[in-house]
């Protein structure tokens, strides 16, 4: 079981990295989402895997899984949403500022001569 969870985490990381390296904003957002799944699972995995042992204290149960990674991941999931929302609006803003959804926000040069380098925006 541990092995397939490890493979799943690796797979999510790999897919996330590939998509984050794409040139358009939308795949980058998707890649980021996949990667945050991967990070959350990884953090969760640091508490090791236990079946049927939720950290809810009860008189007749003696085994509990580690609650700390869970508390960590719970807030990470919610903050992950905030971050995704921020990136999404950033992408929309970028679209309205530059007219296309390329991550580098290349300015379309009006003269053909100077198109070897992207103009700096900062």
């Amino acid at each position: 079981m541990e092995a397939i969870l490890a493979i799943a985490i690796g797979l999510l990381f790999g897919c996330g990295v590939y998509l984050m390296l794409r040139a358009r904003t939308f795949p980058v957002i998707i890649g980021l989402t996949l990667m945050s799944y991967a990070v959350n699972l990884f953090l969760f995995a640091s508490g090791r895997l236990m079946v049927n042992a939720p950290p809810i204290i009860s008189a007749d149960v003696a085994r509990y899984t580690d609650p700390i990674p869970q508390a960590l991941v719970l807030t990470a999931i919610v903050i992950g949403f905030g971050m995704t929302a921020y990136i999404v609006t950033l992408a929309l803003r970028g679209l309205s500022e530059s007219g296309d959804d390329h991550v580098d926000m290349l300015e379309k040069s009006t003269d053909q001569a100077s198109n070897q380098l992207p103009k700096r925006n900062l």
């Binding site: 092995a3 690796g10 809810i56 903050i79 929302a85 609006t89």
Partner: protein, 934 residues
């Protein structure tokens, strides 16, 4: 006396006044130019007044030191020193500073508010004061650099002019580079001595000179001094700096800043002098600069340029005198510092008046001004006479000392005749350019084609010049009475040994030195007579311009830097991302390979069929999202599958809270993505090259495989956890049996407070980004089909209405039970958010808009205030921040509720989450409304 104990505190006080006064002119400039000038003058006068009580100890040869530990382990202390040398320079800086403030008020154009000018001038003044009053050498270096920076800002004061900016940059590069050399020199000194305090360094002089590092230290310190004092071959920045307003030239580039270089020679004289290396390098550089500067001064047509080269030459003279390093030559050097500051500042101010009145500085056009401005002309001629070394004026005295010293100096062995000849040549040239200045500007026929009709300047503009020229005469006629004491104490502080016997008087009898003066006067006048022949001859010489050389080197360097920069930073985020991932991989792999394997044979869980199917779904979703990422809508669906599997993983491995959170976040995220996709292009073009794709695949494979290995190691290694404490204390200490929730709201409540703050900031960030955002509303989908007219189907609408109270009831339930069973503020907030958003989706954002709060930021604030406020309450019970209290309460139907004070904290969390979700989604929806059928 009690006062004498507290007197040293006046030293840092004077600097404090200077530094805190910098912004004063800017604050008062709204009350007019005069107010700014008075403020600047008052700051300087106050500094002088606070230093004045210390002068008597300096005159009597004592050194006042004020020491405060700052970072003693680094040798950096706030320690200040006032001795004769510091006193001399403080008087020059502040005295001439006040005159310059008065002068600038009349010199600069009426439309200049002057606040910025005086602020910069005060900044420079503070830095300069810091240099001369520093006991700690590191502190001195810092002030030294600030003089370079403020000089840069002052030269570029007319920042609209290209010429000004070039000149300012050149001065900054040359003096700034020298400053770095000086810093390196100081660090080495500190290394050798073990202290950066000047007193310790002076005491260790013998040790320093014997150290193998001595040549390096000497070179570095001299580089700092020579660049600042415009010594050959670093002199070229000074004439270019003449584009600065004349008050700046008078203050920085004749009287004070360029003197910082020779100040450094004086300061380090007891430490570094007395060796052949010092003797030959300092006197050679000084001597060359002396003659070279004087020679070039003769050929300037611009009289301000003439003064600039003359300044270089006089600085060379001072340097040469320090280089000769006999006690008498040091007396002459210090005396010349005083004299040159006085006559050159007055000459610059007079030149500024002439420039101001004529609108030109070209001596081929500015002629015959004596008739139009006789008083200014007389003043300028007296000052120029001093510059030439005419008897009865102060310049004569120090020049005479120099001539005497050149005759008696024996340090060059058999070549001792070279020095008097050199001195005489320099004297001849100085007379020649002084005569040229006097004759060309004030006589020599009529003015040629001047832009303005010159006449005497405003009364108060001339006052600074008058004061300085009177000083020239006073020092020239009554030297011992006027500057004797100052000179003696400054020289004493420089030498750090008893003074030589000398006699400050005008007439030393008809000796060889006086003969040299006569030769210089006659020869100078003769040289001026032959000027047309000389000019023709000079024009034939090849021009060696160190300025062009500098500019070319600078441009090459800049182009080279640009090239390197473009390799590293070409503006492509895609490339940054790839580089970032590459390094993540390298570091990760390195740590993985070099570290110890932690795999212990922990008993693994068996694989079951359900998990296998779930894994298969996850892989399908993730890989599908990659392979079909060009089809955007589809990839949202596929990512949704992955999210659901993640929630299932949480369910399977005993994390019910996480599963609930993940599920609700999944819903919200999907809605968010769909809303965004509405505006973004519906598909991604296939534009990546083959190499780009294979590079990215390699990176993805590397990181993916690496993370899989790391995760497996992690999952199979044994570990000890700190969570037993939380498991044991959850019920007795936190009053709740859901340990995750108790950790969130109680044990680690402070972390959670931070996290909801981050969440609120993300929400406000999107709020700001969406403000005033206008996007095109696409009319059709990717296949070209028009969007359905019926955006809000009746069926959905009817289904959603009754669902709302149900969903809200669930949210309340989840919230209340959260302390003991899976749930809590985060989950309840998400459920509420989802329930309300579903209403918007079904009924349209306009429908929801009418029924929901208009503005969410206040709710965010309320939530944060509740969470933080309940934590603050515990302070009233003298408990740490966020201490909880709890008790039981029985609510019908819901059951036994643990009512802890943390429930208010959790309510704050709840509000922040709800407000974040609603703010983000409704604001995205609002663009929809704006663009839609209005």
């Amino acid at each position: 006396m009690i006062e004498s104990v507290s007197l040293p505190i006046l030293l840092p006080l004077a600097l404090f006044i200077a530094v805190s006064g910098v912004s004063l002119p800017l604050m008062v400039e709204r009350y007019g130019r005069k107010a700014a000038a008075i403020a600047a003058g008052a700051v300087m006068a106050l500094c002088l007044a606070s230093l004045a009580p210390l002068f008597s100890s300096a005159i009597s040869g004592q050194t006042v030191i004020a020491h405060f530990d700052w970072l003693p382990s680094f040798g950096l202390n706030l320690s200040f020193r006032l001795d004769g040398l510091g006193m001399l320079f403080s008087i020059l800086i502040l005295g001439i500073g006040i005159l310059v403030v008065l002068y600038a008020h009349y010199y600069l154009p009426e439309d200049d508010k002057l606040g910025r000018f005086y602020a910069l001038l005060l900044l420079f003044m503070s830095a300069m004061l810091g240099v001369v009053l520093s006991e700690n050498l590191l502190m001195m270096v810092v002030f030294w650099e600030v003089t370079s920076l403020s000089s840069f800002l002052l030269i570029a004061y007319k920042s609209a002019s290209h010429e000004s900016r070039i000149a300012a940059r050149m001065a900054l590069v040359v003096t700034g580079a020298g400053g770095l050399a000086f810093l390196a020199g100081v660090l080495l000194l500190g290394h050798v001595v073990g202290s950066y305090e000047l007193t310790d360094v002076i005491a260790a002089a013998t040790q320093i000179k014997a150290d193998p590092l001595y040549p390096t230290i000497l070179t570095l310190v001299l580089l700092g001094a020579f660049t600042k004092s415009a010594q050959f071959p670093f002199h070229f920045w000074l004439p270019n700096a003449m584009v600065a307003p004349t008050p700046v030239s008078a203050y920085l580039h004749s009287a004070t800043m360029v003197k910082a270089g020779v100040f450094l020679l004086a300061r380090f004289y007891p430490v570094l002098s007395g060796t052949d290396a010092w003797l030959f390098s300092v006197s050679a550089v000084g001597g060359i600069t002396l003659v070279y500067g004087a020679y070039l001064a003769m050929y300037r047509n611009d009289f301000k340029g003439l003064l600039a080269y003359s300044t270089i030459s006089h600085l060379g003279l001072t340097t040469l005198l320090f280089g000769l390093s006999t006690p008498m030559s040091v007396v002459a050097a210090v005396f010349h510092i005083i004299n040159h500051a006085i006559f050159k500042a007055s000459l610059f101010m007079a030149a500024g008046i002439i420039d101001h009145e004529c609108g030109s500085r070209d001596m081929r056009r500015v002629n015959g001004l004596f008739k139009m401005m006789p008083i200014t002309a007389t003043l300028a001629m007296l000052a120029a006479g001093s510059m030439a070394g005419v008897p009865l004026l102060n310049g004569f005295l120090s020049k005479e000392m120099f001539f005497t010293e050149s005759i008696v100096f024996q340090g060059f062995g058999n070549s001792h005749w070279i020095l008097p000849i050199f001195a005489t040549i320099a004297g001849v040239l100085a007379v020649a350019y002084s005569v040229r200045f006097i004759h060309d500007v004030f006589f020599n026929g009529e003015p040629v084609d001047l832009p303005r009709q010159p006449h005497e300047p405003p009364r108060w503009m001339r006052v600074p010049v008058e004061v300085l020229v009177v000083l020239c005469l006073l020092v020239g006629i009554f030297p011992a009475w006027s500057v004797g004491a100052l000179l003696a104490s400054a020289t004493g502080a420089t030498l750090q040994s008893p003074l030589p016997v000398y006699d400050l008087k005008i007439w030393h009898g008809f000796n060889l030195a006086f003969l040299m003066s006569l030769i210089a006067l006659a020869g100078g006048v003769g040289l001026y007579m032959m000027r047309s022949t000389l000019m023709r001859w000079n024009d034939q010489l090849p021009t060696i311009s160190s300025r062009t050389f500098f500019e070319r080197a600078y441009q090459n360097l800049a182009a080279y830097a640009e090239k390197i920069l473009l390799i590293m930073d070409n503006g492509s985020l895609q490339r940054y991302m790839a580089v970032f991932f590459l390094f993540v991989f390298i570091y990760g792999a390195w740590a993985f390979i070099s570290g110890d394997s932690m795999v212990n044979a922990v008993s693994l869980l068996p694989l079951d069929i359900a998990s296998g199917i779930a894994f298969f779904a996850l892989a399908l979703g993730a890989l599908g999202a990659v392979f079909m990422h060009h089809r955007r809508l589809l990839s949202i669906v596929l990512v949704g599958i992955v999210g659901l599997v993640v929630a299932l993983i949480f369910v399977r491995f005993s994390a019910p809270d996480l599963a609930l959170t993940q599920l609700s976040v999944e819903v919200v995220t999907t809605v968010l993505m769909l809303l965004a996709l509405h505006y973004l292009p519906q598909s991604t073009p296939k534009e990546s090259s083959k190499t780009r794709v294979s590079r990215d695949v390699l990176l993805a494979l590397g990181i993916g495989l690496g993370m899989a290995f790391v995760s497996f190691e992690l999952l199979t290694s044994s570990f000890s956890t700190i969570s037993d404490f939380y498991l044991q204390q959850s019920v007795p200490g936190g009053g709740g049996s859901n340990v995750v929730n108790v950790i969130l709201v109680d044990f680690r409540g402070f972390d959670t407070l931070g996290e909801i703050t981050v969440l609120a900031m993300a929400a406000l960030g999107t709020h700001a980004l969406l403000n005033q955002l206008h996007l095109m509303q696409p009319m059709s989908d990717i296949a070209g089909q028009l969007w359905a007219e019926d955006a809000h189907p009746l069926f959905l609408k009817m289904l959603m209405r009754p669902l709302l109270p149900l969903a809200l009831a669930v949210a309340v339930y989840i919230f209340l039970r959260g302390h003991n069973l899976p749930g809590g503020g985060f989950v309840a907030g998400l459920v509420t958010g989802v329930a309300l958003i579903l209403q918007s989706l079904a009924g349209g954002f306009a429908f929801a808009e009418d029924r929901l709060p208009k503005s969410y930021p206040p709710i965010l604030g309320l939530g944060l205030a509740m969470a933080a406020g309940v934590g603050l309450i515990s302070w009233f019970f003298v408990r740490p921040f966020l201490t909880s209290a709890h008790g039981h309460i029985e609510i019908p139907l819901v059951g036994d509720i643990e009512l802890a004070s943390v429930i208010i904290f959790d309510l704050g969390v709840y509000l922040v989450v709800v407000a974040t979700v609603l703010l983000i989604l409704t604001e995205l929806g609002r663009i929809n409304m704006k663009g839609a059928r209005v």
